[in-house]
Symmetry: C2
C-alpha cells in the first residue's frame, strides 16, 4: 500500500490582503460566495496574485492537485486498493481522499468542491465522504500514518530514475511518497527534513501530475501488479 502525499499544494482560500481586489469581488459575486470563501485561482485571479509580488509566486493552482488526483485515482494501483492519497496544502490543511472518490472532470467544478470542503470540512454533506479536510501539518500527518519509508521527489534531490526509486519503495511495508503540489520552487526546509530520502527523477523540471503518473506506474511495476 503506497501513500501518496501532494505536499505544500497550491490550494488556499483567498488571502485577506487581496480579498478587496475587483477581480476577486467580481468572481465572488458570480459564484455567490464571500471573497474569503473562494479558493485562490491563477486562472481567474491572475492580477490579484501578481499584486502579492514575490510571495504570490506559485500560488492559486488547484488544477495541479485536481489533475494529479485524477491520474492517481484512475490508476490500476488504486483500483487494486493499494494507493492512499492525501493533499497537504501550503497553509497546513490536509485533505484526506476516499480512494473510491470520483472527482469532477472539470477544473472549476473541482475548485468549487474544494470551496465547499473548506466550508463544511467534508464533502458531500451527506452519504459516504469523498474528501475530508482537517487543519494539520505535514509532520502531524506523517506521525498519524507512520510510514516506514518516506521519500520526497524534488529537483533538489540526488538523481535517481523513478523506476529505481519505486523499487526502493516497494521494499517498505508502508511507504510514503511526497510530491510537490505546486508549480515552481522547492519544498520548505521543514518538509525536506521530514523526508531523509530525496530524489530527482529527471534533469528537467516535471509537472506534478507527470511525476504522479510516473511514480504510480513504476510502483505498480515494482510490486508486480497484474496487468492481465
Amino acid at each position: 500500500m503506497l501513500t501518496l502525499i501532494l505536499a505544500e499544494s497550491s490550494i488556499e482560500l483567498v488571502p485577506n490582503e487581496i480579498a478587496g481586489r475587483s477581480a476577486i469581488q467580481k468572481w465572488a459575486e458570480r459564484k455567490k460566495k464571500a471573497p474569503h470563501q473562494l479558493i485562490l485561482d491563477q486562472s481567474y485571479h491572475h492580477s490579484a496574485i501578481l499584486s502579492l509580488g514575490k510571495s504570490g509566486v506559485g500560488r492559486g493552482r488547484p488544477d495541479i492537485v485536481h489533475f494529479s488526483l485524477l491520474l492517481a485515482l484512475g490508476s490500476p494501483l488504486n483500483s487494486d486498493n493499494q494507493l492512499n492519497c492525501f493533499v497537504h496544502t501550503r497553509d497546513d490543511h490536509v485533505i484526506t481522499i476516499n480512494p473510491r472518490a470520483r472527482l469532477p472532470r472539470n477544473t472549476d467544478r473541482f475548485t468549487s468542491l474544494i470551496e465547499q470542503l473548506y466550508q463544511e470540512s467534508v464533502v458531500p454533506s451527506s452519504g459516504t465522504p469523498l474528501m475530508k479536510l482537517s487543519k494539520e501539518s505535514l509532520k502531524d500527518l506523517l506521525s498519524r500514518i507512520s510510514p516506514d519509508d518516506v521519500v520526497a521527489l524534488t529537483t533538489a534531490g540526488s538523481p535517481k530514475p523513478m523506476d529505481q526509486v519505486a523499487m526502493g519503495l516497494s521494499h517498505a511495508k508502508r511507504p510514503a511518497l511526497l510530491v510537490g503540489g505546486f508549480p515552481v520552487g522547492h519544498f520548505s526546509d521543514q518538509t525536506m527534513k521530514l523526508a531523509p530520502d530525496r530524489f530527482r527523477i529527471d534533469r528537467r523540471s516535471l509537472e506534478a501530475w507527470t511525476v504522479v503518473g510516473r511514480a504510480v506506474y513504476d510502483y505498480e511495476k515494482a510490486i508486480g501488479i497484474g496487468k492481465f
Copy 2:
C-alpha cells in the same frame, strides 16, 4: 519521433438537434456565443446530451483531450522534440498541435480556446499558431504523415504490456500511436482497419490520459531518452 494521435475524440460543436435546449441556450448567453459555436460539454450540457439517448453516450468530453495533451506536451519526450500530437475528432476534424504550445491549465479555458479554433481555424489569431483545425478524416491524416508503423491501443486488442508495445514502436522510424480520445466504447471499424496492430495494455479499462502518460513514458525508456 513518435506521432501521438488522439482518435475519435469527444470534441464537437453542439449538434443542431439539441441547440434549442434551455441549458445550451443559457450557456450560449453566458458565453456570448451562438449555440452552434459552443463545444459540446458534459459538465454543462449533461441533460441535453442525455436527451440524445444512446447516440449521446461518451460525447462532450473536451477535458479528455485537454488532460491528455497537457501530459503529452509536458513530457521529456516532447521537450526533446521527439513527439508530435494530433487530435482527430469524432466528426472528422483534425487539430494539429504545435509541440511548443502552452495550453491553458483550466478545462473551461481550454474549451473556449477550442471554440475559437472552430471559428477561426487557427489559434491564436496572430503570431505563431498553437493549434490548427482542418476538416480531415483519420485515414487522410495517416496518409499525410505516412507512418511506417501504426499501433492502436484498445481494450479490444490483444494483451501486451505497454513497455513491450513501446519497444516495438521504437524500432520504427516514424511510428504512430492511436489512443481513443473518448470515455467509453471502442474505435469504429473504420479506425480499427487503419491500425493492423491493436493492443490492450491492461485488463482494466484505463482513462485516455493515463494511457497517454504511460505510453509516452515507456516510449522514452524504449528509445533511451536521457534522464540526467
